[in-house]
Amino acid sequence: MSVTIHIPTPLRSYAGGQAEVAVDAATVGDALRALAGQYPSLTRHLYTDAGVLRSFVNVFVNDTNARELAGEATAVAPGDSLMIIPAIAGGRP
């Protein structure tokens, strides 16, 4: 059994055009790493060059932001639905 990751539209072209990808994972971090492992060109848009999850990238596990749970260590169970949602941030120099 696996979890389903919903890929946001702008990232689908880096994930073989797919809207959903199923991965085997025990935690949110595992799921994201499995996704990036399957589609390496996604990596730079999810992680910094140092391999840290970008601060604006959020993962909702069944409608709850993983940052409000245990972050990347948040446990996931077979059948869970994960959504990658950005926090939109920026500003003038």
């Binding site: 946001p8 959020n58 932001n65 950005p86 939109i88 920026g90």
Partner: protein, 144 residues
């Protein structure tokens, strides 16, 4: 070159939101439809968002993920998608900063409104390159 199109009244609404936020940064979400290759997007609806930063609101903005998630759901219910975002640069050109670049994804339009001394000076739109090294300006078309 990619392209984003929005109606004249949407552009007016967007720039008004940016002007009212001055001297702080204003922001929002663009819902619409993209072409299959995503080279062009047409905005169908604006979400005028609150700048949810508690500090540095004159040069930083954030739209919380919960707000973005709600916009995604609203878009999907209307058969639309999130095609981009907008924010303002108070007293600064409508050119993305490094901070903007670090917080962007390719495939989305980033519309920036320059508000100088309280008036809108320029509106430009940008897309992040695949390699994340730079933004490319895109054509911003106003539909009548």
């Amino acid at each position: 070159m990619t392209r984003i199109a929005l109606a004249a009244d949407q552009l007016a609404s967007l720039t008004r939101h940016a002007r009212l936020a001055y001297p702080e940064e204003g922001c929002g979400i663009l819902l619409g439809r993209a072409t299959a290759e995503a080279a062009a997007a047409v905005v169908e609806e604006l979400v005028l968002a609150d700048n949810e930063r508690a500090d540095s609101r004159h040069n930083r903005y954030v739209i919380a993920p919960q707000t973005v998630l709600a916009a995604h759901r609203k878009a999907r219910e209307g058969g639309l998608d999130v095609v981009g975002y907008f924010h303002s640069h108070p007293d600064c050109p409508a050119v993305p900063s490094d901070f903007d670049r670090e917080h962007a994804w390719p495939g989305l339009s980033y519309v920036i409104v320059s508000v100088c001394a309280g008036d809108v000076a320029e509106v430009r739109s940008w897309r992040l390159a695949d390699d994340r090294e730079r933004f490319h300006e895109e054509t911003l078309e106003t539909l009548r």
